[in-house]
Amino acid sequence: MAHLTTMPTVEPGQDRNMILNMGPQHPSTHGVLRLILEIDGENVVRMMPDIGYLHTGIEKTCEAKFYQQVVPLTDRIDYLCPLTNNLCYVLAAEKLLGLEIPARAQWIRVMLNELTRINSHLVWLGTHALDIGAMSVFLYCFREREDLLRIFEMVSGQRMMTSYFRVGGLALEPPLGFFERIKQFADRFPEKVDEYEGLLTCNPIWVERTKNVAYLAPDDAIALGATGPTLRASGIDWDLRRDMPYSGYEQFQFKVPLRSEGDVFSRYMVRVEELRESNKIVQQALAGLPEGGIKADAPKVVLPEREKMKTQMEALIYHFKIITEGFTVPAGEVYQAIESPRGEMGYYVVSDGTAKPYRVHMRSPSYVNLQALPKMCEGRLIADVVAAIGSIDIVLGEIDR
């Protein structure tokens, strides 16, 4: 974040070039992103993203919390896919502890993660279409999103800040009727995707606004660190769920959507295909959900059941110790990466052997993908900037942390 007066990077090259501030309050910047544009008429000559308006110092806060207290903080990084962040953090902590998670907990984690991906992509599709001028798609997407938020509320008590995963498993056994609710959603969702596609995919205005716009070459995508749908739309076949599986993803069959055009339209198509594939993973998880516990067998890390606390002294002591002192984690460091809806979400956690993490660093996908934005927009029309921002699907909470 910088003051306008001390902004030496973008200087008007010629008399006719103009510096234009887009944001931080521009509706299509999805939060508080400020873009400094040097424009020549309608053409963008140079662009510089300016971030930091949502910086809350979450990484610093994590260092002052116990390991289990970090989970709610991770929700607030990316408020459109809180469960993905929860998962990435707990996987990192579990790797440090060397915990083994029961299969049932892993499958529920995968199921909820894919629902979160659908949820996040629905918000992206609605707002992206709204930015380009297709109003009604937004209403269609938020109709299904409401169902998903109710599902999240059912399992965690919260619509958005779920914090449902714990180091060592899940917070609670899902309530009665939960899986039926998901099944109802998953059965009817594919035809809803057909509806969105019917509104957009062959719509001539949509195609005109998105095809051959904001091109990103595969080499540039790799060099700039782009991941997720932004990378796959440029023709690089890389998905961490398939290539470096975590949390039992190797047991699921799904396709990784791939396009090679590298424009806004191909990013749209990749994400729409992902909606369908995620739905298939949810259905597989429902069909093959194993029986068993939802918490690891580690009494010093996982909170005991309520009933045991009323009858067993040991359980009561462990509960008291974990709540008041936290649990200690062996010294070491891990980098755990997972495929979030936006790309590679990575948590680098360093432990010094105490109950609080020494350092937590989040490698957030939108933060890195944002660096590809100038490459997409420079030399193109200013109206395409809006389409380009929508197509990389940024969340400013995650960028600024």
């Binding site: 910088a2 990484e59 610093k60 915990l99 290539d243 470096m244 070491g332 980098y335 360093v350 350092r359």
Partner: protein, 165 residues
Amino acid sequence: MPVAPAITKLDDLLERPAVAALLAWRREAVQSARFDRNELTVNLDRSAIREACAILKDSPQAQINFLSDLTCVDLHPSEPRFEVVYHLLSMKRKERLRLKVQLPGSDPSLESITSLWPAANFFEREVFDLFGVRFQGHPHLRRLLMPEDWEGHPLRKDYPVEGYR
């Protein structure tokens, strides 16, 4: 699942292509290596980092092509104080590699790798902003997240969590 003991001897890690490539290039630049919790870490000399990344990027064995992450850890009050951490990825081999460089608190500076991976641009600016580590050769090393006129580097361990009041 107990954690397997870490491998720390350089000679035991020679079958790892990244370690082999770095040792073949310049043995004295590699300070130590560690394979722990299925993750490979190589500690490098501070002057070697940019060239080492270039070697790994060109190496036909290691096939490192992607910079995942770059960050820093403050080990205050011990010396050397800063540890700059690079997470590299080989998409072909489906392997990650962590490089670490230790820097003294009195002069925390090292070479930038933005010429190899432009993705390092924001990462290095962030580390400069929050830790005060300087990257030589960075095209515009300025604060990224904090305001331009901010004093201090918030992620340093001697910076209070609540900030100065």
